[in-house]
Symmetry: C2
Subunit: 329 residues, 2 copies
């Protein structure tokens, strides 16, 4: 038996590109990656009239669907959501469709990422409207697992991130990111996406998921899409439905506080006065600070002096509703 070993003689860099992390700012043109040419509608266009949206409830059906797509040479885009869809989610779908041939959106209010005193029970749900929006947006497959369909009663395996989650929402919501990492890892294994799109509004979440993808070698490109905002600048969120009309007016203080920072020049201004400035705006709108931070975009470590690319983040209570928002400086 004659055997040839093909040693890889090239030490570095590896010949195949690593997974990509793509950050898009609002209005920024997207230039890659080239998606495989298929008999598909033009990138970004809605699906043709004979498009069929599938609704699947069992993870094994979803995985079989994913295998079919891959066998057909198609690239799968994925948008995981907790439902109660709004224009922010739909912008993620649009982004996913630009970068893939078929798009899966999942709807699952994941209990393990809610703390004991959080809003799991009252989290808003509207399945019918969600499906209507998905159809209109040309989603190819919706994964809508049954509430008890995602976790075995004796589930005992979890994915956890130990550095990026130390501050910001992670320190305020113990166990939250363990729940997020675990459910996203599960969804990635079920849906087998080539690219997954997350919203910038949950900036720490995207950072943690990027880290998970890197550290656990998921072969998935992660795209962060810009936060969608109401006409007045308020970040869209399913939780905005909790706000009374007066609270909704006050809630504007969060985005206003971020906007008040203006643009960061080359001067490396000190962070503390900028944080104080944001606090002043929150106070002006009657909002109670949970945190106000300016951090490095990759490590999420607080910075003492600010430079372009740093991220300002706010979590604040408006009545009983906790709102978050952020801005890349």
């Amino acid at each position: 038996m004659k055997i040839v070993i093909k040693h890889n003689q090239q030490p570095a860099p590896p010949p195949v590109p690593e997974k990509k992390f793509i950050f898009r700012k609002a209005g920024e043109a997207y230039n890659g990656p080239a998606k495989p040419t298929q008999n598909q509608p033009a990138a970004g266009s809605k699906k043709p009239a004979d498009h069929v949206m599938r609704l699947l409830r069992f993870s094994c059906e979803v995985t079989e669907w994913a295998r079919e797509q891959h066998r057909a040479g198609k690239r799968i885009g994925f948008v995981p959501t907790m439902g109660f869809l709004h224009a922010g989610h739909l912008s993620l779908v649009e982004e996913a469709r630009k970068q893939s041939d078929v798009v899966c959106l999942s709807i699952f209010v994941n209990p393990t990422q809610f703390g004991p005193n959080e809003d799991l029970e009252k989290y808003p749900r509207d399945e019918e409207n969600d499906l209507r929006l998905c159809r209109e947006e040309g989603v190819d497959m919706v994964f809508l697992p049954r509430p008890d369909g995602m976790y075995a009663p004796d589930a005992s395996v979890f994915v956890d991130e130990e550095k990026l989650q130390r501050g910001l929402c992670g320190s305020r919501r113990p166990g939250h990111f363990r729940g997020v990492c675990t459910v996203v890892a599960k969804l990635f294994n079920i849906v087998q996406p080539d690219v997954a799109v997350f919203g910038q509004k949950d900036f720490q979440q995207v950072a943690v998921i990027r880290r998970m993808v890197r550290d656990l070698n998921f072969p998935i490109d992660i795209v962060m899409a810009p936060t969608m905002r109401e006409a007045d600048g308020m970040a869209m969120s399913s939780r905005n439905v909790y706000l009374s009309p007066t609270e909704r007016e006050n809630a504007l203080g969060v985005s206003r506080a971020l906007k008040s920072l203006g643009s960061v020049g080359a001067g490396h201004p000190a962070a503390e006065p900028m944080r104080e400035q944001m606090r002043a705006v929150l106070e002006q709108y009657g909002l109670r600070e949970d945190y106000v931070a300016i951090v490095d975009a990759d490590t999420l470590e607080p910075v003492s002096h600010v430079e372009a690319g740093n991220v300002a983040l706010i979590a604040a209570y408006c009545g009983k509703t906790r709102l978050i928002d952020n801005r890349i400086l």
Copy 2:
């Protein structure tokens, strides 16, 4: 735009089979699953003379290789190892080849599953011989990452199992199964196998990995292959190389202790006398017990009365070398 939603009307069971856990006892015939018919040599046969074994060192190359295999409709079998291969590993390769079209074997001495006082530095290595054996066995691709190629310096994401690892080796080796789960999850994501084969000798490891596959929804069949033994019954292990000739004689006490239990009838005998019997054999061979247990095969909980299918497990020190073995009763 006319849109049709295909609701899945069937409540249960799902139409696509879930991943399989296959346990084979020595000598037991294997009857499934049917593998896709390819232009391949007959199941179980070595590869033809023009077979090329690839050696890859970068995870991205491996993932690209896996994608090529899947695009070609091939089923990937996977045998993760720490190298220093022996007949036990080769039996896992043989099992993987029966159940797949192409076999990947990985060699990586994973630092994160060794405790601070364990044998990471002196763990035996023989890369050249390992590759020779893989060639002879018809392995299609060996993944041999560089020592620093698997973990980023600031790695912060880990996979952990919290129930099955409480007893047995898990309680003796804190952090061991976190290291195992994390590296196996990484390898699964890199190699994208359809089936992975593990040896029964590390019974708790297989149970933990099965649990991980279930709880994180890896679309991978897990096969547990029977422990390979020397002529005298001693379980094969890379660590047996640590034993002096005298120690090697004494080490036989581990398998002898397990064998002394004989067969379990329908009488549900009490577990404690059986454990005492194993302890007596260990003592007779001058071995120091680390643990002696009889447990449920799925939960790994100790049983008070023994029935067929329970598992007897031993960990014992022979000099400074820690040996483990087990037997399904």
